[in-house]
C-alpha cells in the first residue's frame, strides 16, 4: 500500500488531498462551522467582505460558509452511503449470477436490463413523485440505477475469474459458493471495482446535486450543495457570485476523485505501448 502510494503521480496525490480535506470537513462539520446550520446572521446576499462571515450570506441571510460545511456533510455522506449500498447489492447479485450461471444469471441479468432501460432521471422523477421526497426514497431512487451499472461490471469481472483454474480447484475441494465468491473471486476483482467506486460516487453525487437543484433532493432547510446553487441562483442576475461557490465545491470534489480514479485505472490496466 505504501509502495503503491510512493509510485503515485502528482495528479493522484492532489486528488487524494482534495478527498482527504472533504472527508475531514464532513466529519468535523460542527467543529468547523462558526454558526448553526439554519442560523440567520445578517442581510440577504451579503458579500464576501461582510465582517461577521467568511464567504458572505445566502438568500435568507444565513452564513454561506456554515452552509457549505454542513452541505458537504449531507451531500457527501449521503452519496458515499448510497454508493456503498449500490456496490454491496450490485456485487452480491453479480457474483451470484456469474458463479451460478444458468437461470439465476438469466433472471438477474434480464431484470437489470429492464431497470437499465429506464433513463435514470425519468425513473427518479416518477418514483419521487409517487413516493414523495424523503431521504429513504432518495436513497432508493439513486441506488437502483447505480447498482445496475455496478452489477454489469462486476458480473463481467467475475465471469473472467470464475473460469480460472484456481476457482475450479476450490470447487473440486468442495468449497461452498460463498467461500468461492469471497475468497477466490472478490480479492481478484478489487482494483477495477475500487476505480468504479470512485467513478460511481461522482455520478451519484452529481445526481443528488441535480435532483436538489430541481427541488427534488434534500429538502430545505437541510443544507446541500446542489440545493444551494438553486436557492441562490437568482443572485447571478445581480452580479453576485454566491451560487458559484457551492457549484465550485461540487466541481472540486468531482475533479479530485477523478484524478485518483484515473490513476487507479491506469495502474490496473498496465502500460500502453508507445510505438508499434
Amino acid at each position: 500500500m505504501i509502495k503503491l502510494f510512493k509510485r503515485s503521480p502528482l495528479s493522484a496525490r492532489i486528488g487524494m488531498l482534495v478527498i482527504a480535506v472533504n472527508l475531514f470537513v464532513c466529519i468535523a462539520a460542527p467543529l468547523i462551522a462558526p454558526y448553526g446550520e439554519t442560523e440567520v446572521i445578517g442581510e440577504v446576499w451579503e458579500s464576501v467582505s461582510a465582517p461577521n462571515s467568511i464567504l458572505g450570506t445566502d438568500h435568507l441571510g444565513r452564513d454561506l460558509f456554515t452552509r457549505m460545511v454542513y452541505g458537504a456533510r449531507n451531500t457527501v455522506l449521503l452519496a458515499i452511503g448510497i454508493t456503498a449500498l449500490a456496490f454491496f447489492l450490485g456485487i452480491f447479485f453479480a457474483f451470484l449470477a456469474a458463479v451460478l450461471g444458468g437461470w439465476v444469471n438469466q433472471l438477474l441479468s434480464r431484470s437489470v436490463d429492464i431497470l437499465m432501460a429506464f433513463p435514470t432521471l425519468i425513473f427518479a422523477l416518477v418514483v419521487l413523485s409517487v413516493l414523495g421526497t424523503s431521504v429513504p426514497s432518495l436513497v432508493f431512487v439513486l441506488m437502483i440505477p447505480a447498482a445496475t451499472r455496478v452489477y454489469r461490471l462486476a458480473r463481467a469481472l467475475a465471469m473472467n475469474i470464475n473460469v480460472l483454474d484456481y476457482v475450479e480447484v476450490a470447487r473440486i475441494r468442495g468449497e461452498g459458493i460463498f467461500w468461492v465468491i469471497s475468497r477466490e473471486i472478490l480479492p481478484n476483482t478489487l482494483s477495477p471495482l475500487a476505480a468504479e467506486f470512485g467513478l460511481r460516487f461522482c455520478f451519484v453525487f452529481l445526481f443528488i446535486s441535480s435532483l436538489s437543484f430541481l427541488g427534488l433532493g434534500l429538502q430545505p432547510p437541510t443544507a446541500d450543495w446542489g440545493g444551494m446553487v438553486r436557492e441562490n441562483a437568482g443572485a447571478i442576475t445581480y452580479g453576485i457570485m454566491i451560487p458559484l461557490i457551492p457549484a465550485a465545491a461540487i466541481a472540486q470534489l468531482t475533479v479530485g476523485i477523478n484524478l485518483v480514479v484515473d490513476w487507479f485505472l491506469h495502474e490496473s490496466a498496465g502500460r500502453v505501448p508507445e510505438e508499434i
Binding site: 480447484v169 473440486i172 475441494r173 468442495g174 468449497e175 481478484n188
Partner: protein, 559 residues
C-alpha cells in the same frame, strides 16, 4: 558473400520506474542469405527478444541500447526512422508467431490477410497476390490450395493455420523470416507437417531464417547453425552437427540429455485390485451433440502411474473432468474402490472429494495470486482435516519440504515464484489432502524442459514414498516414456490401445500409436528427412491413397 544480417553487441534493457535491467547482454549474430540459424534456450533466455530486435522492434517496456548495431543488408536499422522500419517489416523481414490463432484476425478470410502485406506495400496487385497465395498454399502442402484461402481462420485446423501464417510471412518474398516457436503449440503429428513445410519453402526460395525454439530436437532438423542462449548470454554457437556430436558447454549437454530420465520398472507382484474403475463412460457437451467420450473403460491400480496419451481433441481432458466430477456424462459408471461415485461434485462426500485431487497445466492460473502460500496450502488442511492454526503451519512446512521448497516460501504470494516453483506448490496443495489419486493434466507442458524433468522426478519420488496413484494426461510421449506404468492411447474420444508400457511401446504397435511414436522429434540430424521419406514409401506401398496426417482414418481400423 557479405552477411545479410549482422548484429553486433546487441544489448537490450527492460525499463521500469527509472530502473533498468539488462536482459540481452551483448549478443553478436550473423546470418547469410539462405542460411537457417537456430536460437535455443529456456524461457527468459532472450531468444524472442533477439528475434524481434532483428526487425528493429522492442516490446513495450524494453529498449535497445544505442551502442548496439543491427545491420540488415548494409542498412543500419538502429538509425532508421519508424517509417523506414515499417517499410522493411513484412517486405524484407517477416515474422511468424507462436500462436497462429492469436495472430490472425478472426474477421477476415485467410487470403485477404495474405494479400494485405504485398498490396499495402505496393509490391503486387490484389489479383497477382491472390494467385501467388494459391501457389504458395500448394507448396506448403495445404489441402485444396485453390479454395482454402477463402476460409476464415476458425475454419481450418491449427496446423493448417500455422502453415497459412508461414505463407503470409512469405508473401513479399522476404530475405529473412523470424520463426518464433512456430510449432510449440501444435500436436506432434501436426508439428511434422509444419516443419516439413517450413523446410521445403525456405530451401526453395532461398530464404534466410532465425528459428527460435526451446526444443533442441526440432531445431536440429532445420538449422544450419545453432546458438544456445541463457539469461541473455551466448552459451555456445556451432553448426548443428558440432553441437550434437561435440557440445563444449555443460549447459548444452544438459539440454541434449533431457528426456533420458526413466522410471525404474517395479516388481509386478503387487496386488492388482483397481482403486478406480471407469465403465462404459460416454459423454457429450450438450444434448444432441456428438459424443466426446465414447464408451470408455479403464482400471487404475493403486500406486501406479497411468498415462492417457492423445492429441488435442482426443477427449483426454474431458475424461479427467468427468472422473473428477466437473462434467456430467451421459451414461457409464465411475467406481472408486468398488463404490460408485455420483457424477456431480455436489453429491460426492468430503472424503470422496479428498481422495481425488488435480494438478493443472498452467500453474499461473491454478494459484490464487492474492493468497499467500500459507493460505493456499493451509486451506485443504483446514477444510478436510479441521486442523488448527499452529498445526497447519507445521504441516505446511512439511509439505513445502516434501516438494523441495524452502520453508520461507510460506509468506510469499504466487507471482513471486518461478513457473517450476509454482507447479511444486500445486503438487503440495494436492498432497495436502492426502489423496489416493492425483490427476495430472499436462503438468509439465508449460515448463522448460530442464525444469519439467525436475518436476517429473519429484512426482516419481513422491509416489515411491506415499504410494499415491497418478493419472497422467499428456500429449508428450517423452513424458509418458519417463514416468508411466500403463498407457492408454486415445483418439477422437475412444481408446485405441491400452496396456503396460513395455507392451504399448514395443512393436507391433497399433497404427495410430506408431504414428504418434514416430512423430516425436529425435536428437538426430536428418531425422525429419528420413521420417518423411519412409512415410512416403509406406504411403506408396499401401497404395490406397491414405495419407499419414489423415487422423480419422486410424479410427476406422480400431473399430
Amino acid at each position: 558473400m557479405s552477411d545479410l544480417l549482422k548484429i553486433t553487441n546487441l544489448k537490450i534493457e527492460a525499463v521500469r520506474e527509472n530502473r533498468t535491467k539488462e536482459i540481452i547482454k551483448g549478443i553478436d549474430l550473423t546470418l547469410k542469405r539462405g542460411e537457417v540459424l537456430g536460437l535455443i534456450g529456456e524461457s527468459g533466455a532472450g531468444k524472442s527478444t533477439i528475434g524481434l530486435a532483428a526487425m528493429g522492434f522492442c516490446r513495450p517496456g524494453c529498449r535497445i541500447v544505442s551502442s548496439s548495431s543491427i545491420i540488415f543488408d548494409g542498412f543500419e536499422i538502429m538509425n532508421a526512422t519508424l517509417a523506414e522500419k515499417q517499410n522493411l517489416r513484412g517486405t524484407r523481414i517477416a515474422y511468424v508467431a507462436q500462436s497462429a490463432a492469436a495472430a490472425f484476425n478472426p474477421a477476415h478470410k485467410l487470403i485477404r490477410q495474405y494479400t494485405e502485406g504485398p498490396v499495402r506495400h505496393g509490391i503486387k496487385s490484389y489479383p497477382e497476390a491472390k494467385k501467388e497465395a494459391q501457389a504458395l498454399y500448394k507448396k506448403l502442402l495445404l489441402p485444396d490450395p485453390d479454395n482454402i484461402g477463402y476460409r476464415y481462420p476458425h475454419q481450418v485446423s491449427g496446423g493448417q493455420l500455422q502453415r497459412a501464417m508461414v505463407a503470409m510471412a512469405m508473401a513479399c518474398k522476404p530475405d529473412i523470416i523470424v520463426f518464433d516457436e512456430p510449432t510449440t503449440a501444435l500436436d506432434v503429428t501436426t508439428q511434422i507437417e509444419v516443419l516439413a513445410a517450413i523446410k521445403k519453402v525456405t530451401r526453395e526460395l532461398n530464404t534466410a531464417a532465425l528459428y527460435i525454439t526451446h526444443d533442441l530436437a526440432v531445431v536440429i532438423q532445420l538449422a544450419d547453425r545453432i546458438m544456445v542462449l541463457r539469461h541473455g548470454n551466448l552459451v555456445e554457437e556451432g553448426t548443428s552437427k558440432q553441437l550434437l556430436e561435440a557440445p563444449r558447454e555443460q549447459y548444452t549437454r544438459d539440454l541434449l540429455s533431457v528426456r533420458t530420465f526413466q522410471k525404474q520398472v517395479e516388481d509386478p507382484g503387487e496386488n492388482k485390485t483397481p482403486i478406480l474403475e471407469v465403465q462404459n463412460l460416454t459423454a457429450s457437451y450438450r444434448k444432441n451433440t456428438p459424443n466426446v467420450l465414447k464408451d470408455i473403460n479403464l482400471k487404475i491400480t493403486r500406486g501406479k502411474t497411468i498415462a492417457i496419451v492423445g492429441e488435442s481433441g482426443s477427449g483426454k481432458t474431458t475424461l479427467a473432468r468427468a472422473i473428477i466430477g466437473l462434467m456430467n456424462p451421459k451414461k457409464g459408471k465411475i467406481l472408486y474402490r468398488g463404490k460408485e461415485l455420483p457424477y456431480a461434485l455436489k453429491r460426492r462426500t468430503k472424503d470422496e472429494l479428498r481422495h481425488l485431487q488435480m494438478i493443472y497445466q498452467l500453474p499461473d492460473i491454478a494459484l490464487n495470486p492474492r493468497q499467500r502460500i500459507q493460505r493456499i496450502l493451509g486451506r485443504p488442511l483446514e477444510f478436510y482435516f479441521g486442523m488448527k492454526r499452529s498445526q497447519r503451519k507445521k504441516r505446511v512446512k512439511e509439505l513445502l519440504d516434501m516438494v523441495e521448497l524452502p520453508a520461507k516460501f510460506i509468506n510469499r504470494f504466487p507471482p513471486e515464484l518461478s513457473g517450476g516453483e509454482k507447479q511444486r506448490i500445486c503438487i503440495a496443495r494436492a498432497l495436502a489432502a492426502k489423496p489416493e489419486i492425483i490427476i495430472c493434466d499436462e503438468v509439465t507442458s508449460a515448463l522448460d524442459q530442464l525444469v519439467a524433468e525436475e518436476v517429473l522426478k519429484l512426482l516419481q519420488n513422491l509416489q515411491d514414498e506415499l504410494k499415491v496413484t497418478y493419472l497422467f494426461i499428456t500429449h508428450d510421449l517423452a513424458t509418458v516414456k519417463a514416468i508411466a506404468d500403463e498407457i492408454i492411447v486415445m483418439l477422437l474420444g475412444s481408446i485405441v490401445e491400452q496396456g503396460p508400457r513395455e507392451i504399448v511401446f514395443n512393436p507391433p504397435h497399433h497404427e495410430y500409436t506408431e504414428l504418434l511414436l514416430s512423430s516425436v522429434p529425435e536428437m538426430k540430424l536428418d531425422w525429419l528427412d528420413e521420417l518423411l521419406k519412409s512415410r512416403r514409401e509406406k504411403e506408396a506401398a499401401r497404395g490406397n491413397g491414405k495419407k499419414f496426417h489423415d487422423i480419422e482414418s486410424y479410427l476406422a481400423v480400431s473399430n
